[in-house]
């Protein structure tokens, strides 16, 4: 295979080749919004609903939604409730129809795949196993009087004229009247309570962003370098963040702080520690020049104990992970096979502006070491080797991970009753066939079979 062949292969694997057409009403809505003259950095209330879904689904997967309150020891029964898993889709927080490839990413795939890929696991004989027999599970719920707390936080941040939007599904409270200079939003869905503040006035990239809207061809991103003046050090930012969070009414004594100094800002991450684990109680604060608060986000939820569960061992964890991996791979291959067939049926024209202006590229006028390298996009180019229309399946074969360590962790799960639980999981560490360094390569629910509805766990795929 030469580079031309490779480019044809790349073209045939265009991730947007299978991009479905959009509803004409949605298309029209985007157009009408565009010509309404609304500033781009003012986000309409109607759009928050969709944004919330995306953020919530992603947050559930990435464990970035936090709980801004105490951990509550509930009355834990001797026999904790059997865990019946739901999906983000069931809870109305994600739409599997958005993408075939991403359909898995809204559910089980998120923590199995973790953004890295699917694996088959093999437990090393000398693997270090650090798994207790039992672990406490928690329910994630909003803090009390969340709307009042939202108002207090907004007041403390100087957000004026905060409008309380009373959406039935817990959509965000959002300040529209001051949307240009300050953004503030809060999500009120139980178990997902969180807030986000963004100060456009001190955005270090503001001028770059504005300059591009002028569309001056001579304004390039390279020329636009925000100037950082008197950035806080990591220690200064940590101290400032502690002070700010305390001022907003959050308990900081059990939080772990981590700060990093970047090119234009200093960023502080704070996490509430629960039994030695990073909890979903998370805050981020970023400071720009002269210590101005640029962004702040955090959680408005708390943890309530729901029971102590028995945990599986290392070998069982590996077999369970492989079972789910096998099912996911089968699902992916089914989807990817369909995508491949769709791409094939599009007769090799999956490039060139998606059919808008797919005239063949002209030879480059630029100096070129390979003058004939400009790719032809002519769908009927006879010199082009036909793409494989009978590509054998399965398309995706998972790599093998040699597991050298398994240990307890925690992760949030959607449950069938629409609640969010923070449950014990087994984390896998080991070696891949492409790296000599130990890495974390996956996570699986750790509760024993008898205390889990296995069908719901597997249907989480």
């Amino acid at each position: 295979m030469n580079t031309e062949d490779f480019e044809h292969k790349l073209r045939s694997h265009d991730p947007a080749a299978n991009l479905a057409g959009r509803d004409s009403a949605e298309e029209r809505a985007i157009f009408e919004k565009a010509i309404s003259g609304q500033p781009s950095n003012v986000i309409s209330i109607s759009r928050w609903s969709k944004r919330r879904k995306a953020v919530s689904a992603a947050a559930a997967a990435l464990l970035v939604i936090g709980v801004g309150g105490p951990v509550i020891s509930g009355s834990v029964s001797a026999s904790p409730e059997r865990l019946v898993f739901g999906t983000a889709q069931n809870s109305g927080l994600a739409d599997k129809s958005e993408s075939r490839l991403n359909s898995n990413n809204t559910s089980m795939g998120d923590y199995m795949i973790g953004g890295w890929g699917l694996y088959n696991y093999e437990l090393n004989s000398d693997a270090v196993v650090n798994l207790p027999d039992t672990a406490v599970a928690y329910k994630v719920v909003n803090i009390s009087n969340i709307e009042n707390r939202v108002q207090e936080i907004a007041d403390a941040l100087g957000v004026s004229e905060l409008s309380i939007i009373d959406n039935e599904d817990g959509a965000p409270t959002y300040s529209t009247k001051d949307g240009v200079s300050k953004n503030f939003a809060a999500w009120l869905k139980d178990g997902l309570g969180s807030f986000n503040y963004y100060n456009f006035a001190v955005d270090p990239w503001k001028d770059c962003y504005e300059s591009q809207t002028k569309s001056d061809s001579d304004v390039t991103t390279q020329e636009c370098k925000p100037e950082a003046v008197n950035l806080l050090t990591a220690n200064e930012a940590t101290a400032a963040a502690k002070q700010l969070l305390a001022k907003l009414g959050f308990e900081t004594t059990s939080m772990r702080f981590e700060a990093n100094v970047y090119e234009t800002s200093t960023e502080v991450y704070a996490n509430m520690q629960v039994n030695g684990f990073d909890s979903p109680i998370t805050f981020y604060v970023s400071y720009v020049s002269n210590g101005d608060v640029y962004t702040l986000s955090g959680s408005l939820t708390r943890l309530v104990e729901v029971g102590t569960y028995d945990l599986i061992g290392a070998e069982k964890a590996v077999s369970r992970a492989n079972e789910i991996s096998d099912r996911t791979v089968a699902s992916w291959n089914k989807d990817l096979g369909a995508i491949s067939k769709d791409a094939d049926s599009s007769s090799g024209t999956s490039t060139s502006n998606d059919g808008d202006s797919s005239e063949p590229s002209e030879p480059s006028e630029e100096p070129s070491q390979e003058p004939s390298e400009e790719p032809s996009v002519d769908p009927v180019d006879p010199s082009v080797e036909p793409r494989e229309t009978t590509e054998p399946e399965p398309i995706y074969t998972p790599s093998t991970i040699k597991v050298s360590k398994v240990e307890l962790g925690y992760q949030m799960f959607w449950m069938q009753d629409q609640t969010v639980l923070w449950l014990p999981v087994v984390n896998f560490y080991g070696f891949s066939d492409w790296s000599d360094e130990v890495g974390m390569y996956g996570t699986i629910a750790a509760v024993v079979d008898s205390q889990i509805d296995l069908d719901s766990l597997y249907s989480y795929l």
């Binding site: 480019e7 991730p15 591009q212 569309s215």
Partner: protein, 167 residues
Amino acid sequence: MQTQEFEELFNKYSHSVRAFIWRRSAGLDVAISSADDIEADVWSIAWSRKEAAPLDTEMELAWLFQISRHVLANHIRKSDTRRKITNTFHPEEISALSADSLVLLNEEISEVFKLLNSSEREVMALTVWEGFKPAQISVVLGITSNAVSIRLNKARKKISEYLERNQ
């Protein structure tokens, strides 16, 4: 540009803009739902700057892609769930799907893409997937056509060497 002309522009390129954002947002791990919001912002900005739209029809889409890259970068910087990269994120870092993302589509492509840096990946993607010429790519990336050709040649050289090694 009048409303009708802008609507024609929208109808002509809406899917292309959407596909452009789709390819990049997947590589950047942007929530898919957010891609629609990003697209809406792109068209809002395009409308507000419609007088600056290029007269050359061949450059219209490049101009829209240029806006898209900036909006995408701005979205990433502001994204609540991506704080780790927000304040250092720069439009230059936007590229088509990462090698890790591409492994879902094809392992060999993924392996080859691992050889390329983000700017080379983006030039390659704009060439192959968007079907752009260097002059158009130069508008999207805000660099010269010559720089585009150099990046493209570097990318192709790396790919060629890899393919020779692995024949």
